[in-house]
Symmetry: C2
Subunit: 354 residues, 2 copies
């Protein structure tokens, strides 16, 4: 019996994707070869790569606007480094909304000045700072759209005259935004897009080539763009499964349809968190993430009972991150409304039996 | 019908591995979850990582000797950069035996002096230079054990008083060596170890921490060792399939058994290349790779016929790299002797019909 998988990432992907991804290990598109043994230079895989790159731009509405999509490795952690390597000449500004922003700032400081324009660290990152001032003399502004660990999400993004760089690892393809506002978007695949092992980078080409330092080949976005994301052997399977997931998003109605479902799931769970006296939400109401609702018990003595109840209901991955405690219900695109209902039912059952 | 897959990498893996790898996409070890959706922090995956790291050391005979095994991303191309970041303070020496060595030298030169002690570029890298002198005042010596593109392989490694660093991407786990001679071994998984998307690094810990520069977190071997190869989300599936392949190697008798079979396959094919007047080998006889025999037709007018014959025989991936032309029969651990016999039969049939 399948579980209701609320893992924070790697996370649930569509069942149809698992089926096709499993079959391709045995025989990829009737080639007589496993997807794991085909050459990345084969026509079969070059098509996968091209379709995935194109579909990412298409779903974001960024075709023919000077953007390029490349698939790299190393996750967002590698992008903390690569963004600075490619863009930070003197000074950049960062909004610090949690663990991932903090790590991005740390890496950037090896390359130049990284100004923290605001931070929500004072309240354990349970809100998104607003009304901060962004300096003018910066190479770029960096923010994190969704904070997986703390369950906050930026609803608005500042308008800046410099390149806008955003780590969208945990909410890309989950909601409609004016993506053309951004100059560089990066995302580890392992939330809404695919399995761990691939990283999508969407970059407006005209922001590149401005720094004076020599950039190592593997760190240089221009090298990867020039080689059509095949400078070296790409993570073939992770990109293939990402393509299957991107196709699924498109088939289901694109980002608009994902957002509608994600809003329904978020409303269902947050309503219960707010209604049920046994629970309280962690994040500030206006900054709540639709992807990773975080919540705690109002009475910690109920923990053992609640934990055994949700586990009995076949729910997986609900424990909160150690930085927050309590619970985190990650509800990425592929998590069904039914799975959220199962969780809400358990929360209500706990209340009745309390 | 399965093909005889002579691809240079990604390449054939054992059929048993494909079966288990396919099943785990649907349900991993009866967890009710796909291997693609489990948390990398789950007990189930932490066990995979630990077993893979341990088994890599065990197979190489490097347990309890100060070595650590970590799984990273980015392939050998990222290691060209990381080795220099971590080890190159002033000067290092490189043996240039082909495309990959050349790329390693290029990246190292961003960090310090990289002396090329010898090169076989004068003969399109068809041999391994010998009798070169290695300077004393270097931070490390770097070499490439097997040259996938040119089909040469180092049979002996120099004894040096500095750390010995080796790119073993295309022949690790294929032959017995005194691996304790090396201080750092790296290998992209996608030849003898698994699918594209994981990189194995075996490093003797006492060579680290000697350079003065600040190393970005993702580039720092010590960070990855400290975090048990889980500093950030690892490429879960590529590591899992690598583990399945490492288990297969152990079950079949370890590296010794792999080497015996690889020697048989190499003897079978090279004997035919030398015997058949229609073919000639590319690499110098004493430096021939057991992994990637390269050969050409003596009469190019036979090309069309030979190409259609091997394709009809269900052979895949035999075309040579553009730098060499002709043919390359990559024969990694999982390629069977029967597949090599099919190729030899086609070569003999071509001779008879010529």
């Amino acid at each position: 019996m399948k579980k209701h998988n609320f893992s924070a990432g790697p996370c649930v992907l569509p069942q149809e994707v698992f089926q096709e991804a499993s079959q391709a290990i045995l025989d990829f598109n009737n080639t007589g070869l496993s997807i794991l043994e085909i050459s990345h230079r084969s026509g079969a895989f070059v098509s996968v790569m091209e379709e995935a790159r194109h579909l990412a731009l298409e779903l974001l509405g960024l075709e023919n606007q000077g953007y390029n999509a490349i698939f790299l490795q190393g996750g967002a952690s590698m992008q903390f480094l690569m963004t600075a390597y490619n863009l930070l000449q003197d000074k950049a500004a960062y909004l610090n909304t949690g663990t991932w922003s903090s790590k991005a700032i740390k890496e950037a400081r090896l390359f130049g000045e990284a100004v923290e324009v605001a931070s929500s660290k004072d309240k354990n990152f349970n809100y998104i700072p607003k009304d901060y001032k962004i300096p003018q003399d910066i190479n770029y502004f960096h923010c994190t759209s969704n904070n997986t660990i703390f369950g906050t999400q930026m609803k608005d993004f500042p308008s800046v005259d410099v390149p806008l760089v955003c780590d969208m690892s945990s909410d890309i393809f989950s909601r409609e935004l004016n993506f053309s506002k951004f100059d560089l978007i990066y995302a580890g695949a392992q939330k809404n897009m695919g399995p761990a092992g691939a990283t999508l980078v969407i970059v407006k080409e005209d922001i590149l080539g401005k720094v004076k330092r020599e950039i190592p080949s593997m760190m240089d976005y221009r090298v990867h763009i020039e080689k059509d994301s095949m400078f070296n052997t790409p993570p073939v399977y992770a990109i293939y499964v990402s393509l299957l997931t991107l196709r699924w998003i498109k088939d289901k109605g694109g980002i608009k349809a994902m957002e509608e479902l994600n809003n329904k799931k978020a409303a269902l769970l947050y309503n219960e968190i707010d209604r049920n006296p046994l629970f309280k939400g962690f994040a500030a109401t206006e900054d709540r993430s639709t992807m990773n609702p975080t919540f705690n018990l109002t009475d910690e003595s109920k923990k053992e009972k609640f934990d055994s109840m949700w586990k009995d209901a076949n729910i997986n991955g609900l424990s909160g991150h150690r930085s927050v405690g309590g619970y985190r219900a990650s509800m990425y695109n592929a998590l069904s409304l039914e799975s959220v209902q199962v969780l809400v039912d358990v929360m209500q059952k706990l209340e009745k039996e309390a």
